[in-house]
C-alpha cells in the first residue's frame, strides 16, 4: 500500500484531538460520514475507524467510547500494550506493541504492515483477513458474529483459525499473539467454482 510514513507523535496527537469524535450508526448499519471525508489524510481516517471499531465491538450501543479513549484520558504516558507478531506472506516477522482496545487492522497500519483494509473496518469486505497461528490464542477470542462470518466466507486462503483483523481487538490475554497474513492464492472464485488446470 502507498502509505507515507507518519510519525508516531503525529498519530498520538491526532488520536487525542479526535477523541471526542463519535460516529453514529443507524440500524441499517449505514454510517453518516462527514462531508468530504474522503479528502482527509490517511492517518486521520484511521482514528475515525478506531472509534468505529469500538462501536462495532460494543454492538448494542449507538454511541460508544472505546476503552482506548478511556485509557488515554487518564493522561498517563505509559499505555497498557500487548505484544503482537505479524508474519507476512513472505514469512517475514514484525513484532509490534498494540495498545489495549486497538484493532489489529489499525495496529498494522500504524506500523506500516501491509494488511489491506478496503472497507476500513466496517465489516463489508474480507481484505484484512489474518490467520491466528496458535489455536490457544484463537480460542481466547470471542466467537465471530454472523456479520464477520459472512465476510470470512469470502476470504482467500480461509483456515480454521482465520479472523478479520478489524474485529480482533487487543486485550491482555492476547499478549504474544502471532498473526499470519495469508498468501494470495490462485483460486479466485467466490462461488465455489474450481478452475480447471491449464
Amino acid at each position: 500500500m502507498l502509505v507515507s510514513k507518519v510519525s508516531r507523535a503525529g498519530i498520538l496527537m491526532l488520536r487525542g484531538l479526535s477523541r471526542g469524535k463519535l460516529t453514529p450508526i443507524t440500524r441499517a448499519g449505514y454510517i453518516q460520514r462527514p462531508y468530504g471525508q474522503y479528502l482527509q489524510p490517511w492517518f486521520e481516517r484511521q482514528t475515525e475507524t478506531k472509534v468505529f471499531q469500538g462501536s462495532i465491538f460494543l454492538k448494542h450501543h449507538n454511541f460508544s467510547t472505546t476503552t482506548t479513549a478511556n485509557a488515554s484520558e487518564e493522561g498517563s504516558e505509559k499505555e497498557e500494550t500487548i505484544s503482537v507478531t505479524f508474519v507476512d506472506k513472505d514469512g517475514e516477522e514484525q513484532h509490534i506493541k498494540v495498545p489495549i482496545g486497538m484493532s489489529m487492522l489499525e495496529a498494522a497500519h500504524e506500523n506500516d504492515i501491509e494488511l489491506e483494509g478496503a472497507c476500513e473496518g466496517s465489516l463489508a469486505c474480507s481484505t484484512c483477513h489474518v490467520i491466528v497461528m496458535d489455536v490457544e490464542y484463537y480460542n481466547k477470542l470471542e466467537d465471530p458474529a454472523d456479520e464477520e462470518n459472512d465476510m470470512l466466507d469470502l476470504a482467500f486462503g480461509l483456515t480454521e483459525t482465520s479472523r478479520l483483523g478489524c474485529q480482533v481487538i487487543a486485550k491482555p490475554e492476547l499478549d504474544g499473539i502471532r498473526l499470519a497474513i495469508p498468501a494470495a492464492t490462485r483460486n479466485f472464485a467466490v462461488d465455489g467454482y474450481v478452475p480447471k488446470p491449464h
Partner: protein, 484 residues
C-alpha cells in the same frame, strides 16, 4: 519468499538497465484498474501510470454497481483516490478505448498496457420473446438506479404490473430484488439516483420471483446478501419446502464449501419459518428453484409487451467430473409478470486489435499475459499487453478478488520487463504522447480534479436532501460540472 525477492530485483532491473521511466497505461478505473495501478507504482519506483476511463467519473462498478444501500462497500474509493492522487499517477476520464484512442496507438505510446475495462454487456438467453418490452438485463437496471449516464433514460415501467420475475439467484439478482422491495423511505437517504427513487416511490410492484435453474444448494448468492433480504421489514418470504431436500450429491457439494453450506442453512430456515399470511398490499419475495426459462409470453392486451415467462421444470444431471447441470423434464409451468430482469451474467466487449474468446467472453490470457489467439498456445504472446479483472477472469468474484488478480498480472508484467530490460528497450512517449494525441483529436479528457468537482457538487446537492450524495446522471451535467 522467492517471489518477493524476485519482484524487488526485477523492478530494480528495469530502471537500472534502462535510463528512461517505465510508462504504463491502465484502461479502466474500477477495482481491477486501481489495484493494478497501485501495485505497479509500488513495484516499479520509476513507473508512471496513466489510468483512462470512458466515463468522467472513476471507480467503475464501485460507483455504478454496488447497491445504494451498501455504502460501506464503497469505502474502498478512499484507497483508490489516494492512488489517483499519487504523484506518478494520472487519471484521464472521458477517454474511450476505440474512439478517443485505439489499442494500437496505446501500445505504441506505452511500454505496458493493461486492459481492465470489465464487462459492459450481457449474456443472452437466446429464447423466443427476449426482445419484448418489459424485459431488461439486471446490469441495465442496476446502472439505472445507480445513475449511470448510459441508462438514465431506460424505458422502465414500474407502474403497469405488480409482479417482477428475476432470472438468476446471484448477488446481483438479490440486489435488484431488494431495491424493488425495500420501502422507498429507506432508499431515500441513500445515494440512489433521484430519478430511480421517484420511480420506485410510485412503483406498483409488490411481488418478486427469484428464479434459478438449479436448487437451493447451488444458489449463487452469498450469506450476507441473503440474510439482508430475508430481514427486510414487512416482507413475506416464500420458499417451497419441497425444493429443499438434499441428495447425497448435494451433501457432497456442500461438505467442502462453506459459502454454499451457510447459504443453504439460511434458505432452509426461511422455508421452515414459513410465510405468514400476507396482509393485502404486503410485499412478497418468492424463491423458485428448478425452473429454466423456455420462452417469454406476450401480452394480448398490450402487444409487444411481456406478460409472463414459460418455464420448464428441471432436474440435476451428472455430466462427469463432479459437475451437475440442470436438464429439462418436459414439464412446464408459467409465471405471470409485467417485468423481467435477467441476472444471468455480464459479458465483456471486444475492441479492434484485441484477441477475444467469444465463447468464454474473455481475452485469452495466461496469468494476465494476453495471448495472440484462442488456440491456447502459450508461446504466442502479445508483447506489452495484459489484462486484469473481469476481462481476464470472466464476470465473477467480489471487489477483493481483483486484489489477487492484479497481484498476478503485475508479477507477470515484472517478469516480462526484466527480459525486456536485458535487450535495450526504447523510451516511449507515455503521458506526453497521449496528451498530444488527445489534443489533436480534440478529445476533452477529464482529470481527477474534474471528478473532485463532480464529487463535491454531488455531495453538496445530496446534503439538501439528506442523502450522502445526489448523483449527476446525464453526460451533459457531468461534463458541465467537470469543466467549471
Amino acid at each position: 519468499m522467492a517471489i518477493f525477492q524476485a519482484r524487488t530485483w526485477l523492478s530494480r532491473s528495469f530502471s537500472t538497465l534502462s535510463s528512461h521511466p517505465l510508462r504504463v497505461c491502465v484502461v479502466g478505473s474500477g477495482p481491477a484498474g486501481f489495484y493494478t495501478a497501485e501495485k505497479m507504482l509500488k513495484a516499479h519506483q520509476e513507473a508512471e501510470v496513466d489510468i483512462i476511463d470512458r466515463l468522467p467519473t472513476p471507480f467503475g462498478l464501485v460507483r455504478s454497481g454496488v447497491a445504494p444501500d451498501h455504502p460501506e462497500t464503497k469505502i474502498v474509493i478512499n484507497q483508490f483516490s489516494r492512488v489517483a492522487r499519487h504523484d506518478r499517477c494520472s487519471f484521464f476520464g472521458n477517454v474511450t478505448l476505440g474512439s478517443s484512442v485505439s489499442l494500437l496507438e496505446l501500445r505504441e505510446l506505452y511500454h505496458v498496457v493493461v486492459l481492465a475495462y470489465g464487462a459492459e454487456s450481457d449474456r443472452e438467453l437466446g429464447i423466443p420473446g427476449e426482445d419484448l418490452v418489459g424485459i431488461h438485463s439486471a446490469r441495465e437496471f442496476v446502472w439505472w438506479y445507480n445513475g449511470h449516464p448510459d441508462c438514465k433514460n431506460l424505458d422502465l415501467d414500474l407502474k403497469n404490473t405488480d409482479t417482477a420475475v428475476i432470472l438468476g439467484q446471484g448477488n446481483v439478482a438479490l440486489d435488484v430484488a431488494r431495491i424493488l422491495l425495500r420501502p422507498a423511505t429507506e432508499l431515500a437517504t441513500t445515494d440512489i439516483a433521484s430519478h430511480a427513487l421517484a420511480a420506485l416511490e410510485e412503483s406498483s410492484i409488490r411481488k418478486v420471483y427469484l428464479v434459478g435453474r438449479r436448487g437451493p444448494v447451488q444458489a449463487a448468492c452469498t450469506a450476507k446478501e441473503l440474510r439482508e433480504v430475508l430481514g427486510i421489514k414487512d416482507l413475506c418470504i416464500h420458499l417451497q419446502e419441497a425444493d429443499l431436500p438434499k441428495t447425497p450429491k448435494d451433501e457432497e457439494e456442500i461438505k467442502n464449501n462453506r459459502i454454499q453450506r451457510r447459504v443453504y442453512e439460511l434458505l432452509s430456515k426461511a422455508a421452515t419459518t414459513g410465510p405468514s399470511h400476507p396482509r393485502s398490499g404486503q410485499r412478497e419475495l418468492h424463491f423458485v428453484f428448478f425452473r429454466k426459462p423456455d420462452r417469454f409470453l406476450e401480452s394480448d392486451e398490450r402487444r409487444g409487451h411481456v406478460s409472463g415467462v414459460h418455464f420448464e421444470k428441471t432436474v440435476l444431471k451428472d455430466v462427469g467430473d463432479g459437475k451437475r447441470i440442470a436438464v429439462g423434464t418436459g414439464q412446464f409451468e408459467d409465471l405471470e409478470c409485467g417485468m423481467v430482469l435477467k441476472s444471468i451474467g455480464y459479458k465483456s466487449v471486444p475492441v479492434d486489435g484485441l484477441p477475444f474468446d467469444h465463447q468464454k467472453g474473455v481475452v485469452p490470457n495466461i496469468r494476465g499475459r494476453v495471448l495472440h489467439d484462442t488456440s491456447g498456445d502459450a508461446t504466442l504472446l502479445e508483447e506489452g499487453l495484459y489484462v486484469c479483472g473481469w476481462l481476464k477472469r470472466g464476470p465473477t468474484g467480489i471487489i477483493a478478488t481483483n486484489l489477487y488478480c492484479a497481484e498476478e498480472t503485475v508479477v507477470s508484467i515484472s517478469e516480462d520487463l526484466n527480459l525486456l530490460a536485458s535487450k535495450a528497450s526504447l523510451p516511449k512517449p507515455g503521458r506526453e504522447g497521449l496528451l498530444h494525441l488527445l489534443d489533436n483529436r480534440k478529445v476533452k479528457f477529464m482529470q481527477f480534479s474534474a471528478w473532485e468537482k463532480i464529487d463535491s457538487t454531488e455531495t453538496r446537492l445530496g446534503s439538501l436532501k439528506n442523502k450522502p450524495r445526489d448523483k449527476l446522471t446525464t453526460w451533459e451535467d457531468l461534463l458541465k460540472v467537470a469543466r467549471e
